[in-house]
Structure formats: C-alpha cells, structure tokens
Point group: C2
Chain length 250, copies 2
C-alpha cells in the first residue's frame, strides 16, 4: 500500500518524521512536505510563482521530498509529479497543536487532507495537543485507523479530521464527533512600533463554552481521541428552496 | 445600514471600487481590502507578523482602508478594529473571475465572506466572469440581492456565493444552485530554469463534463447568475454512525 504524507509544520517537524518512521515498516511511504512552517495558510495554493521540489531521502520504503509550496501544493505535487503509483491513502500531520471546530478552515493540515479527498483519495488529517509527546499509544492508534480506512474506505467527498489529546495522563477512548464552534474575542492587540506607527497582532482569546458533548472540542477536553468526518461539498442544501422564493430576479 | 466590503484582488481593483461607489448612495460603506492581490490564498490568516492598516478615503458614506493582510484578516480588522458600529452585511468582491464548485476552497473571495459568517454576520461573496465588464445590470442585481439579504436574513452558519456571467450578451435569469465539482488534469507544467534546475507551474486543465444542471458551473455556462448557499460547518453528519461501527478503539 502506498501512503503519501504531508503536513503544515514543515519537513523538519518531529510529527511527520515519527509518523514516516513507524509507517515505513508496513507501507511504501512518500513524504512531500513544505520546506518551512506553513501554518494557518488555509487552502492556499501557489499559482503565481514556480514550485520547486527536492528529494532528501531515498530508502526502499521511504522517500522524502520537500517543496517550496503550501501543504495543498505538496499534495498536488505528491500525486502528480512525485508518485508513479498513486497513493492508497493520504495522511496530513501529525500536526503540533489541535485543529478543532471552525478553526479547521484556517488549517493547512486539514486543507492538505481535503486536497487529497478532492482528488479522489482517502485522506486523514491528524493533530496532536500542542506540546504533548508523540506517544506509542498515539502511534498505535494512528496505525489502527489507517488500517481501518484502508479496509472500509471512505465515501467520495469525505475525509477524517483526527485530534489526539495528551493521552499519557487521562485517556477516555476514541469518539466520533461533529465539529464544534470556536468563537474568538479581543482578536487584535494594538501596539506602537519604535517609529511611532501602530500595528496589530492577531491573537484572539477562545470562548468555548457553547459547545456540545458530541463536538470535537468537548471530546478532546474530556480525554477522548476525536474523529470527525468532514466533507468538501459546502453547499447548504436545506437553504436552496428558501432562496428560490426570494424576490431577486432582474 | 452598515456594509463592510473586502476582496482578494486588492484595493486597486475596479470590482470593489465600483461596488463601493454604487452602495454608498444607500448605505454607510466601509472598505477594508488587501493592499495587493491576494488571490488563491484560501482562508489564510496572518498570525506571525504584524498587521498594519491605513485609511485612504474618508467621505461621509465611504471610508476606505487597506491592510497588509489576507482577505480574512481584512474582515477581522474591519469588524474588530475599524468599524465602531458592527456591519449589517459583509460583501466580498466583485472578484475578477468566477469562484465555482470545489474551487471555492482556494478562494480568498469566498473565504472572506465565510469569515464574516463565522463571526455572525450576513455575508455574500460575489464573482464576475473573468474579463467581463461590470455592467449596470450586474450592479442592479447586486443591489437587489443585498436588499433581499437585509430583509430576509441568512441562517447562522450560511453565506451566499454569487457568480455573474457576462450578461451583456445572453442572460437567462437568476438561479439557485449547488456547488459543482471541478476536476483538474495535467496539473503541472515542468520547465528548466536558465541555471539548469527544474521547476513546476501549477496550471491544470479543467474537466467539467461531470456536472449537473442544478450546479453553479452549469448555471453560469447557460447564462444564469448563480447563487449557491454555502455553510462553514463541514461535518459530514451522515457518516458519523458508520464510523462508530469501525474497529478503532485502543
């Protein structure tokens, strides 16, 4: 089985390298990751400057490349340029820090998996609580999940968003969840630079008191590994009939 | 009524300036747009460098600002830093070029409207066929749509994605649609630079023969203005029960 790995923390991050190391025992692993951190880039792609790609490892079951593009660029490059045999599964991560609720819209990690899904491949985004160790238990779970995805498949248009809390302390199990909602307040910090000009840091505070028991946000708080099925068809089908009644013809 | 305008083509683009000019007759208009083109940035936000914002016009019903951030940053800055009274509606556009089907995931235009929606405001993304004139008819439609959104409201979690074909020739009406699927082939063009090193341009060819009559892609092809209701909750609810049966507990 061929596995394509990418991330948004960049090729030097421990998450992707540990994952590649444990998966190469069972699969043909190809890594194509950004040459530097590309967090919070959302689903950006690079159309207006040339993309370059460089091979830095070439073992039997593990090839590693880095590219000067975004996570989504890396998935496209992996599928179309690097891999002769198409991937059976695409994994994005392990990200250093959760990707939960509405925040996934900003996430390079999740967008890379979504790019895989758009292109017709079973795809998973995996994120770990910031600062926690990548434990053997977490790696065991990831291997089990990859096996399940390979066995059961995923519907066209679906991908999985996985968040793993620090399960060394307090582990409750694996939970299938819906996306929660992350509300931010006091989004900007205003400062004055040494030249007397104002500037702003984007750094809001999260308000999370509105989320339900079956959301990803509450699940990880309660020590569960969260798996949320997500889709790339954003159509809000149940609003179509309402809109048809609006007076908007010209 | 307060209208916040932004775009991803940047502050100098004709689309946003024509829209601001016709809307200032009826509304208090505040423009916060990127200081340069930021197309295909998806839902990127700027967390790791300072944001700066500059006022360049201050008329009674029209204030114009530009910022060094992405379209989503501009929406956040508009809501939290620039506007004392919150916007009643947020409009992103008029983009130079369609944002259709799965391509909206890469779109700064649509992501800016989505950012508005996440923050609880009625939001619309508007795109025009590349290279077509911004006709009086198109502007008339946009004014009518904004009035309808103000009157009817939009559900929490919903926004509208609007695509206007070149309606000077061949106009069929306004159609409520679902998102189509844009499939690309031959995604990369390989070249060799003057120093002998290879590089790639991302520039796939669109394959669109798989789309249905009620999709946005087919609607604009047939001369309709397309309005697609979209949502930012990406949970694929109908997959939750299936996943609960998988053997993935550890």
């Amino acid at each position: 089985m061929n596995v394509l790995l990418t991330n948004d923390d960049g090729i030097l991050s421990p998450g992707i390298n540990k994952l590649a190391d444990i998966l190469k025992g069972s699969y043909n692993v190809v890594v194509v990751a950004p040459d530097r951190e590309r967090s919070a880039v959302g689903h950006a792609i690079t159309m207006h400057k040339p993309l370059r790609i460089k091979k830095i490892k070439d073992e039997e079951n593990l090839k590693i490349f880095h590219a000067n593009g975004t996570p989504s660029d890396c998935v496209k490059l992996g599928i179309d340029v690097v891999m002769k045999d198409k991937p059976d599964i695409i994994v994005s991560g392990i990200n250093d820090g959760f990707n939960l609720g509405t925040d996934i819209l900003y996430s390079g990690t999740v967008s890379a998996a979504m790019e895989g899904s758009i292109n017709g491949f079973s795809s998973i985004a995996i994120s770990l609580e910031a600062g926690s160790d990548i434990t053997d238990k977490a790696l065991l779970f990831i291997k089990k999940l990859i096996k399940s995805v390979a066995k059961n498949g995923l519907p066209k248009n679906a991908l999985l968003n996985v968040n793993i809390p620090n399960i060394s302390d307090n582990y409750s199990g694996v939970k299938i969840t819906k996306l929660g909602y992350r509300n931010y307040v006091e989004n900007f910090t205003r400062r004055i630079d040494p030249h007397g000009r104002e500037y702003y840091w984007l750094a809001g505070k999260v308000l999370e008191n509105i989320n339900e028991e079956d959301s990803d946000i509450v699940a990880v708080k309660n020590g569960f590994i969260s798996i949320t099925p997500i889709q790339f068809d954003l159509t809000m089908y149940n609003l179509i009939d309402t809109l048809k009644k609006w007076d908007i013809q010209i």
